[in-house]
């Protein structure tokens, strides 16, 4: 039984300048079973972020249906925690207050909020930074807060929108491993949007490839690499090399041009 089911999703919008009708998402269908880590990749402009935003409830689809645990999605909600590319931390709140925000909205009392926040802070390796403000942290640490803020509320699903795209390459590798380590402990269902093929393979149980506009699902590939994964193991794994080549060809990227 799948947790999330996206069927014939279609998104049309009117361009603000040309007033032309643009199709961001043509016809996209896929399912995510509970506990699976799924990546959505595709050429730029294929609408993968649009799909995530629709699942998150930030924008309404023009057509098709999105069901979470059998219920249609109407608007954003704490059952789907979102990790943003620009972190979207509240600059006026400390690390701890950022992480406890969702619990506060849910009416959890202060002592319990603190206890749970500390627990998650420990989990993402931010101990000692509870009282810091976002602008005092590096990009990598900010995104740890972003992940922790979502984990604190224990959502049914985690939606991650190119979460590591604005983080330097080295820190990114570390964070990818960290997030996988955390994921293996908590096993939330994840929809992960990225344009980084290596990242998609490394993180996921399945990689869904969208075609360019008007987008549709071009491929749905299982990643048979055993977990727990580390970059040094995965790079050497023949399955990684094979799938990577396959995906690169599908996206029309020459292997050597696009590295990290």
């Amino acid at each position: 039984m799948s947790l999330l089911s996206v069927e014939n999703l279609n998104q049309v919008y009117t361009d603000a300048y040309t007033h032309e009708e643009m199709t961001a998402v043509g016809n996209v269908s896929f399912d995510i079973p509970e506990g699976q880590f799924i990546s959505l990749i595709g050429p730029s402009g294929c609408g993968k972020t649009t799909v995530l935003n629709i699942v998150a409830g930030f924008i309404r689809a023009s057509g098709g249906s999105v069901m979470l645990a059998g219920k249609p999605i109407s608007g954003p909600g704490p059952d789907r925690g979102v990790v943003f590319q620009d972190f979207a931390l509240f600059p006026w709140k400390s690390v701890e207050a950022n992480i406890a925000f969702g619990l506060k909205m849910r009416g959890v009392d202060k002592a319990e909020r603190k206890r749970r926040a500390r627990e998650v802070i420990e989990l993402v390796g931010l101990s000692g930074f509870e009282a810091k403000y976002p602008h005092e942290l590096s990009g990598g640490m900010r995104q740890r807060v972003g992940v922790a803020r979502v984990l604190a509320t224990e959502p049914t699903m985690m939606l991650m929108d190119e979460p590591f795209a604005s983080i330097d390459a080295q820190t990114r590798r570390v964070l990818q491993q960290e997030v996988l380590r955390i994921w293996e402990q908590e096993r939330p269902t994840v929809l992960f949007v990225t344009h980084d093929v290596d990242e998609a393979i490394f993180m996921s149980d399945r990689v869904i490839v969208l075609s360019s506009r008007p987008s549709a699902v071009q491929a749905d590939i299982e990643i048979p690499i055993p977990r727990p994964r580390t970059w040094s193991d995965v790079y050497a794994d023949p399955a990684f090399v094979r799938i990577r080549r396959e995906l690169m060809a599908m996206l029309g990227v020459d292997d050597d041009e696009k590295g990290s």
């Binding site: 620009d86 931390l89 509240f90």
Partner: protein
């Protein structure tokens, strides 16, 4: 207003006392720079007025202004006028914040609300200030009410406008993050819109209070029988140039003190604390 004096250079915090010392020295030297033209002015005043034998009906001597000042301080009459004026500024500003901030947030959130009120707001900005004094006195009579209204009017429009801009500058992802974490409309207001717009609100407050302070003096001249503006204007009838000059100095100094020790630090602290917004938001 000299920007240098009001904004000492900000550096990332460091443990080294050396840097702190350098910073203190920089602050001291900027204060000295700020004061230097006034020192020169007072010196010229002390020398020129007796040297040219200026009539006290034209311009008072430094000594006579000083005498009025000390007697005003010792018998408390100066403080009475100062507090009368400050109380009106306080009341008008408080009222303007209480009404202007929520209204500005509403304007920032809703295109419909802002679309409807924007022309009205722009029209009123042109009129804000002393143009309202006749109506204010007709509505509220001669007295504190009319003056408070003038202050309110000046702060209100500035605060509404900057609050609206502040709300619009909050990044979409921040709003989405809050909503997806379960924030309802009431929570959004308190937890996101208000703090998110705070740096902008404080800037508007500072600007609005500048207008209000000027409007206050004008309103007091016309509409009351107490306060700095009233005293300033009353002195004219008796050719008390020393009182006039003292009131002018008091009005200027009070504003500088308010701006420098209340508004500027408030603005700086808000922007500093929110520091990341500029980096992340853009």
């Amino acid at each position: 207003m000299t920007g240098i004096a009001l904004r000492p250079s900000r550096e990332p915090l460091s443990d080294s006392g050396r840097r702190q010392l350098a910073r203190r020295r920089a602050r001291l030297s900027s204060a000295a720079w700020f004061l230097s033209p006034f020192v020169v002015l007072v010196a010229l005043w002390a020398v020129l007025v007796p040297a040219l034998d200026v009539s006290p009906r034209t311009f008072p001597s430094l000594a006579s202004v000083w005498a009025v000042f000390t007697s005003g301080v010792t018998d408390g009459s100066l403080w009475t006028q100062v507090f009368a004026s400050l109380a009106r500024v306080g009341a008008g500003t408080g009222l303007a914040i209480a009404i202007g901030v929520p209204f500005g947030i509403l304007m920032g959130i809703s295109r419909g609300v802002s679309g409807f009120f924007s022309p009205l707001l722009r029209f009123s900005v042109a009129l804000a200030g002393i143009a309202w004094i006749p109506l204010a006195t007709l509505w509220l009579g001669y007295g504190t009410g009319a003056v408070v209204f003038i202050v309110f009017n000046a702060v209100f429009f500035a605060v509404v406008y900057t609050t609206m801009l502040g709300v619009r500058q909050i990044s979409t992802s921040l709003l989405r993050a809050a909503r997806s974490l379960g924030a309802g409309p009431g929570r959004m207001f308190v937890e996101i819109y208000l703090p998110g717009a705070a740096p902008s609100i404080v800037t508007g407050l500072r600007m609005g209070m500048g207008f209000a302070w000027r409007g206050l003096i004008a309103a007091e001249i016309i509409a009351t029988s107490s306060g700095l503006g009233y005293t300033l204007f009353l002195a004219r009838q008796y050719y008390e140039t020393d009182v006039i000059i003292l009131m002018m100095i008091t009005i200027g100094v009070l504003w500088l003190l308010m701006d420098r020790f209340l508004l500027a630090p408030l603005e700086r602290r808000t922007v500093e604390r929110w520091g990341a917004r500029r980096q992340v938001g853009t």
